[in-house]
Symmetry: C2
Subunit: 360 residues, 2 copies
């Protein structure tokens, strides 16, 4: 694949947005990566080309049957000019698990990371350096076969686009207010909840809109079977510190196996802070709060890294957590993880991967 | 909208496929309809143009978050040359229900049917006339805003493409073998199962592939909560004749409100055949079969109209229905409904809508 990677550079570079104008996923770099798949030829035709529209038959399966998967990871530029990626293998491995679930052909993990490094090298001056900013990387696969029969596609495109981003939540590391959803369900065991696929996000839009109208920034999903077990929040996994122990919903088939979640668990273990992965009911949280034992709550995800939760609202009953302020542990986790990501804090786990060294 | 419908005709018409080469959704007519939406301008820029690729930013939300809905309906050409549509209002009304669920802007039902008639008029020589063939119409909406924040799109395209089709199941009206799915789940109450949106179909691909490998043509979904209530089959609702009464799963929020389902219920009532919409367990079917009371089973949908079910396989236990043959009622329903659709059988319900009269 790499041997035959074609690179076509843009003639006139786009103007870069100001650091305070970034937002999340609104601006895109000068280049993109594309690779094609056909049943006959497998993955082929790897190319880095100027960022440009995709041209698809209106019958392409992605439009009709949503056979698509994606990933999200970030690259950071350190003060000494190195480019670091946070655990990219984890994302590409998860991409393959999503692929498997969606009947999309597998990708070669190492080759994918290599082309990703090449793409970053080409667009490295797009990595913002202001605090809290980074380069968000969005690899995705779409089914392109123009046919309306409901069956896995014979053709796909794997694309990587990149976006310089500020903080995902404009509120920053300030605690967010979260609405606990009782009517709508994101996913259920046996479904595609643990895959990073488009349909899961479409399914969440309505509830999210309603929550926004009520003044909440995100929805906390409950399980679809019992409607009482905590699943995850929008694009984040979720953690609760109760009486000194940190609890997070176990991976159960309907939530995403977050890379940040996994990293937080490792960090907590490293610090000898007790951490339990288990089924957690929403009632239990309210109970812990009544007993004064619910100390902190926070979401974890690539976009926001750590997002403290200051308030939950479940069936019109509000739960204020840690006086609505950022907890000590949330802050420490945020500082440590973003510190590691920016190359400012020692990385005892070997998480960071240098992207600047390109095997050309 | 109609006032400003622009029509650009193709210069050289494509060659039409032979009637026996049609398949389902593989060939497309010479023209398509497109209309744009923006928050600022609402739906605008209606146009009929030569069938052509769509050009989208790689960050378009449809690729990432699956905000898309679709419909499927058919046009038929009668022996005396009229063009008939089967209950098009039903489809466009359902499209709006799907839109609502997916936070997609609503469409004007009557105007949509009018442009649909215009499009059919332009491509009317594409409607095949061999028995079992028809013109399949696929309206769909895709979210086009190029932004990676998870939120409803600010921009959409509404597109109609059309495909001359043979029978959906190559087996024809012969009974199909159906695999009852115990591991995977299509949808759950609170989810988007009752909307016609891409993610539901992506979620079904894996189970469908496994069933195909085992020699079954489709999957029968069970509910995601109890894993025992019958939901629907692939792209069909499902009916069972037990001891003289016809039973079909009630609309419960996780299955599609099929136009064919609704029509079959009306036909059965018209014939004074008892019909019950209620929760039906899979165990109950096996029980009825053991007692010799399970007389017929069939799926209903636009593509196949009526698809008799000759065998179910639930947890490796096979259930042969009506000796694996097409039942009398299934046959009568098929003949009547396709007869009405082709303008050969009296239509007591006023279902058929003439498409040939275009309000130009
Ligand atoms: C549904 C969902 N849950 C959790 C996460 C967090 O995963 P990660 O930490 O890998 O970003 C994400 C997004 O990234 C997500 O989309
Ligand atoms: C999931 C699903 N169920 C049922 C149906 C049958 O609905 P209708 O009779 O309107 O075609 C369809 C397709 O059309 C479908 O996609």
């Amino acid at each position: 694949m790499l041997q035959s990677l074609k690179i076509e550079l843009i003639k006139t570079k786009k103007q870069k947005p100001a650091a305070d104008q970034l937002g999340f996923g609104n601006h895109f770099t000068d280049h993109m990566f594309i690779m094609d798949y056909s049943v006959d030829n497998g993955w082929h035709n790897s190319r880095i080309m100027p960022y440009q529209p995709i041209v698809l038959d209106p019958a392409a399966k992605v439009f009709h049957y949503g056979q698509t998967i994606f990933e999200g990871l970030k690259a950071y530029k350190t003060d000494d000019g190195r480019i670091l990626l946070f655990r990219p293998q984890k994302n590409i491995q998860r991409m393959n698990r999503s692929n498997e679930r969606l009947s999309v052909p597998e990708l070669d993990v190492e080759l994918t990371i290599d082309v990703l490094k090449q793409l970053i090298a080409v667009d490295q001056d797009w990595i913002p350096t202001a605090p809290g900013t980074s380069l968000y990387i969005r690899p995705f696969v779409i089914a392109t076969q123009p046919a309306l029969g409901v069956a896995p596609s014979t053709h796909y495109q794997f694309i990587i686009i990149m976006s310089p981003v500020g903080a995902y939540y404009t509120e920053g590391v300030n605690p967010v207010k979260i609405f606990v959803e009782s009517e709508y369900v994101r996913s259920v065991k046996g479904g595609v909840g643990e895959a990073k696929t488009a349909g899961n996000y479409a399914a969440g839009l309505k509830a999210q809109e309603i929550a926004k109208e009520k003044g909440y920034s995100q929805v906390l999903w409950l399980d679809g079977v019992h409607r009482k077990y905590i699943e995850e929040v929008g694009s984040m996994n979720v953690f609760f510190k109760i009486n000194g122990t940190v609890h997070t919903p176990m991976l159960n088939g309907s939530i995403l196996d977050g890379v940040t979640r996994n990293s937080i668990i490792q960090l907590l273990k490293h610090w000898n802070i007790p951490i339990e992965e288990r089924p957690i009911t929403i009632e239990e949280l309210y109970e812990a709060s009544r007993k004064g034992e619910l100390e902190e709550a926070f979401g974890t995800g690539t976009a926001a890294v750590i997002s403290p939760i200051g308030e939950l609202n479940w069936q019109e009953e509000k739960l204020i957590i840690n006086g609505g302020l950022t907890g000590e542990l949330s802050k420490k986790l945020y500082d440590t993880l973003t510190g590691i990501q920016m190359g400012k804090v020692h990385d005892p786990f070997g998480w960071m991967v240098e992207a600047s060294i390109v095997h050309a």
